[in-house]
């Protein structure tokens, strides 16, 4: 019931899985999130990610969801940045659990959290519901996510809530960060929210007496690739 069936049920991934070019197919823009091949996540992990992100930020009458916005692609790319490796966190041992108010205390960076959790979640889903997470109906997926959020699930020594918060945080980042990072495809997140993007000049719009701001978003002008090492380390001289 699990693997192959659920893979093919996700149109976004079934297309990327077929590598041979089809000349008759209409040309899709290169940056379409549906054509992204993950570099950090395995196919099975990425499938989970696509479905879990989508439940956190679903496509609905407001506009695109996490998948169409490219949030999973954003997360995959973030895994190869200093952030993914935990370089932005104080990660010195020893590691002790404590009251939640004292904050994150696990010995795991974002890469570890995803890697250490997705497969056990899928195993849990297989054992409990006889299907991988991605193959579950949306209501059931929500139930699993709620169980994580409320710490009713734990995967080895990773509390469900720790993973859930990581996933929610990164999903929302992927929905709303500048499109250069791989999410917020076509500025869909900004359009939905009414955020005008990189305009950053409201001299004539400080107080419009409650009228809406009239202009749609603009992306950031071209600049160095945010995933190049030069961009990542410019603060290090």
């Amino acid at each position: 019931m699990g693997g192959a069936a659920s893979l093919s049920s996700v149109p976004l991934l079934s297309r990327t899985a077929e590598a041979e070019p089809d000349k008759k197919a209409p040309k899709v823009p290169e940056n379409d999130p549906a054509h992204y091949k993950p570099t950090f996540f395995s196919q099975e992990e990425y499938l989970f990610l696509c479905h879990a992100c989508e439940r956190i930020f679903p496509q609905d009458e407001n506009g695109p969801g996490a998948q169409a916005l490219g949030a999973p692609r954003f997360i995959d790319r973030q895994m190869s940045t200093p952030y993914g490796f935990g370089d932005l966190w104080y990660m010195k041992a020893p590691f002790h659990e404590g009251p939640p108010e004292l904050g994150y205390q696990l010995p795991y960076n974002p890469r570890d959290l995803y890697r250490g959790t997705i497969t056990p979640i899928n195993t849990h889903c297989l054992m409990t519901y006889n299907a991988l997470f991605a193959a579950l109906p949306p209501d059931r997926q929500d139930e699993v996510l709620h169980d994580m959020e409320n710490n009713r699930l734990r995967f080895n020594d990773i509390p469900g809530a720790a993973f859930f918060e990581q996933l929610r945080t990164n999903t929302l980042e992927g929905a709303f960060a500048d499109p250069a990072y791989g999410g917020n495809h076509d500025m869909g997140g900004w359009k939905m929210m009414g955020f005008p993007g990189a305009r950053a000049d409201f001299m004539d719009w400080i107080n419009q007496e409650g009228a809406p701001y009239p202009f749609g978003p603009v992306g950031m002008p071209a600049r160095p690739d945010p995933y190049s090492s030069a961009f990542q380390t410019d603060e290090e001289g």
Binding site: R55, L88, Y90, Y104, N207, A211
Partner: protein
């Protein structure tokens, strides 16, 4: 060009930390003819490089991935709520955001630029005069600064002129203007620039507060409302409300920072030397332990340890780091909460802030992306000295304000939901979008008192990248401050109603609620190396000179005996100018203690 393992030439003065306090002291002491070397652990920062558009307004890279903030991987601190707990490391930057690099937190601050009230500076004396000594809770370490508003006034004025502060004075040399904060003390001069314009949200708050009989005023903002050239010849351009102050470097030269308002002048002075990537590990003392001889630091670019000597040492790092360096250098006596002896780490305080939310009707768009860090409208009716706390039974108070600093989409999305509302899924999404388009925030930005068992010391377990113990913070909310916050927030609901709110979410502290390090509050941390009149209860005299080591001055909010309702930077700058003035006038002529212990 010296090779990178060489030691720089011996200066007259060493300044530790390149933020507001350090830059002010460097400017003042070079003006006095001294050779000054400023050591900064981070990199250099300038508007022309780090501040350029569009890199400076990239939310992910900026506030989310902490571009300008302290690199926690190298050093952090541990936190606990009570002395009987094991403190655990602050592993992710959340509740507060110290800076790193030239400009320090003064590069990524918002720009709210307040003076202190007369009572803030002598809160113990004023409280006893108004309500009697028994009004002070037993475990509260309520203290005076040892300096008065009148003494500091010229230095508040000087700082405003250097910062290019926009605001409206209420009383100038006894003349009432009919505008501004009617509760603010008299001033020697107007603000150098007129107040910032009101955003829509601020204008709605101003109108409602006026209708209700409160006294709204424009928040004094170190964001330039017009082009400006400061007394150092440094230029600012007018703010365009781009919304990227807090957490960012201003790409328009509109927000005051050491980088824009002081360093361009300092860098031209041959007596000034800036050494970046210099992580100071210790202030060295001579055998008597009464004289600082210099500092030991790691040159992070060559990864070598170096020492540098000087006659005068100015410790002007971020508040937490000032306390840490005093403790690891063995200067003064560490505070002991049991015996209540010692001064280093004593009177650690924060900001009692809660943020509430108000929704306007759906045809009203609050455009929360429009903003400036210091702009907004406040009322001081629950903060000013004359506000009667007697019947309410608490010390302190809160300004209430709408300070729309520019809300970016990732922060807006992550901050939506909670308090019973869904945090994800379709219902969350609808509510989040509605909240972004039609709501506004109102803060109760309150004072925070000092207590016997709230303090800083060294952690017994965790260390920084240089093998030194981390600082340990013992902090939680206390009854007096919780009741103050609740009282002030109880008035926000009425104001919201008068604003035409369709819905409100009022947030106040609850009894027993511990400080939560996972939630951003402010970076307004105070105390730990406080100034005062008695060496038994303060680390510094009223000139911010160490009682124990007279050739050491410790400048910053670490000197505040308790936290004010206002943002700290205006007082930090005034105290720096005050201290520098007395170093120049008195100390340099006759080095030694300026107050006898």
């Amino acid at each position: 060009m010296p090779d990178e393992t060489s030691t720089p030439t011996r200066p007259d003065v060493l300044i530790i930390g390149g933020g507001w306090a350090g830059s002010i002291m460097a400017k003042e002491l070079t003006e006095a003819g001294l050779n000054v070397t400023m050591l900064e652990r981070g990199h250099d920062h300038s508007t022309a490089v780090e501040g350029t558009y569009p890199g400076s307004i990239d939310e992910l890279r900026g506030a989310i991935r902490k571009r300008l903030f302290q690199k926690l991987a190298r050093t952090s601190l541990t936190i606990r709520n009570r002395p009987d707990q094991t403190a655990l490391p602050y592993r992710q930057l959340t509740a507060f955001l110290p800076g790193e690099g030239v400009g320090g937190a003064g590069l990524h601050w918002s720009g709210c630029h307040f003076r202190a009230t007369e009572d803030d500076l002598r809160l113990r004396s004023a409280t006893i005069e108004r309500y009697g000594e028994n009004f002070i809770p037993k475990d509260m370490h309520l203290q005076d600064y040892g300096v008065t508003y009148g003494e500091l006034e010229p230095f508040f004025d000087k700082a405003e002129k250097v910062f290019g502060t926009s605001g409206e004075a209420s009383s100038v040399r006894g003349q009432k203007t009919g505008r501004g904060n009617i509760f603010a003390p008299d001033r020697s001069d107007h603000f150098p620039l007129p107040p910032m314009a009101d955003t829509f949200s601020a204008s709605v708050f101003r109108a409602a507060a006026t209708d209700m009989g409160y006294h709204p005023f424009s928040i004094p903002a170190a964001n330039a409302s017009q082009p400006y050239t400061n007394p150092y010849g440094c230029q600012m351009g007018p703010c365009n409300f781009c919304g990227y102050c807090s957490g960012y470097a201003c790409y328009l030269y509109s927000k005051a920072s050491p980088n824009v308002n002081i360093l361009p002048a300092l860098r031209q002075d041959r007596r000034f030397t800036l050494i970046t990537q210099a992580q100071v590990l210790e202030i060295m003392l001579d055998d008597t332990h009464k004289k600082a001889t210099g500092v030991r630091y790691v040159d992070l670019s060559s990864r070598t340890e170096k020492t540098l000597e000087a006659d005068l040492v100015i410790l002007s790092a971020f508040q937490l780091h000032n306390v840490h360096l005093m403790l690891v250098s063995g200067i003064g006596q560490p505070y002991d909460p049991v015996t209540q002896t010692g001064t280093i780490g004593r009177n650690f305080t924060y900001q009692t802030i809660t943020s509430s939310r108000v929704w306007l009707p759906e045809d009203r768009f609050t455009s929360q992306f429009v903003g400036a860090g210091g702009a907004g409208v406040a009322i001081d009716d629950f903060n000013h000295p004359g506000f009667d706390r007697g019947r309410l039974g608490f010390i302190g108070g809160s300004p209430i304000w709408v300070n729309q600093a520019g809300l970016k989409p990732i922060a807006a999305a992550q901050g939506s939901g909670g308090k019973g509302a869904p945090r994800w899924g379709s219902a969350y999404k609808s509510a989040m979008i509605d909240q972004y388009r039609h709501s506004l925030g109102i803060d109760a930005h309150g004072s925070n008192m000092a207590y016997r068992d709230v303090y800083l010391d060294l952690d017994p377990t965790w260390t920084n990248a240089y093998g030194q113990p981390l600082l340990r913070m013992t902090f939680t909310w206390k009854d007096n401050d919780i009741r103050m916050n609740q009282h002030v927030v109880s008035h926000i609901g009425d104001i919201a109603h008068a604003m035409g709110a369709t819905r409100t979410s009022l947030n106040s502290l609850q009894p027993g609620q511990p400080f939560d390090s996972r939630v951003y509050q402010t970076t307004h941390l105070n105390g730990g190396v406080i100034m005062g009149e008695n060496p038994k209860t303060s680390a510094l005299n009223r000139y911010l000179q160490s009682w124990d080591v007279p050739n050491l001055f410790v400048i910053g909010s670490s000197a505040f005996p308790q936290g004010m309702g206002y943002n700290p930077t205006g007082l930090v700058a005034a105290l720096a100018y005050w201290s520098a003035h007395h170093i120049r006038r008195t100390y340099l002529r006759n080095p030694g203690p300026m107050v006898s212990a």
